[in-house]
Symmetry: C2
Subunit: 148 residues, 2 copies
């Protein structure tokens, strides 16, 4: 029994990933899927590996990479082992980028915590007037700055 890997159509991959088929085709046109195969008639045949690649692309997009940057990365893949050091550096840099983003999110959470507390008080009072005097956003900002 020869092990034949399951292949997926673009429609199936669309359902699995939640991305429209047009987007997946668009990504393919940017050469984001270096392992993707096509049938003799030109129909795309996705394997689990291609789906994983799409998931990684989504991850990279979420950490703020542009499609141009992702393209640079997938082109490195196409170069094979010659580019592994470069790709190693790249991923460590991207990881750092995400950590910075997460730190920023923490700060934004503090601002939103303040805003929630502010409006909770305003709703209790029935007016903003008194809250404005007793709670200052500036204090939150300088607190955030000084955390460093």
């Amino acid at each position: 029994m020869l092990e034949t890997e399951k292949v997926y159509s673009i429609g199936e991959v669309s359902k699995i990933t939640g991305l429209p088929s047009s987007t997946i085709r668009y990504y393919d046109s940017l050469e984001f899927l270096p392992y993707l195969q096509k049938s003799s008639r030109g129909i795309r045949k996705f394997t689990q590996r291609d789906i994983d690649t799409i998931r990684v692309i989504e991850c990279l997009k979420k950490t703020g990479l542009t499609l141009k940057e992702i393209q640079d990365y997938t082109r490195l893949i196409a170069q094979g082992d010659d580019s592994i050091v470069e790709r190693q550096k790249l991923f460590h840099a991207i990881r750092q980028r995400l950590l910075n983003k997460m730190k920023e999110m923490q700060k934004n959470l503090q601002i939103l915590d303040f805003k929630c507390a502010y409006y909770d008080q305003a709703v209790k009072d029935g007016t903003e007037k008194n809250v404005l005097e007793s709670m200052s956003l500036m204090e939150v900002f300088s607190k955030i700055e000084n955390e460093n």
Copy 2:
């Protein structure tokens, strides 16, 4: 001694916030700065309050709100105390949105941790070939799923 609050020019605010003047004007044109005053000759005079507003706008943008959504919020401000309950709800929802985003970032960090470990090993080996067999991204994905 009457307390006169310091006012800033658009150029100063640009330096403080890191946003181009054109962007600040653009935000003003979208009515993002409900408290902003202009001189008799039409020159914008920013107070600390306006700068704080810009900081909050940046925070909202970072948590993923569109300018359209931010506009909806600043229009609520213009309605005064009548809209405080709505604004309270809004900020609690935005806060939840940020928390979800932060959770997603955690997942993305796990993917990037895997990618870093993968390439660290590949660089050690001098090739990807063996790593491909011993480390599977799919395991990371299913682990992430099952964390719930």
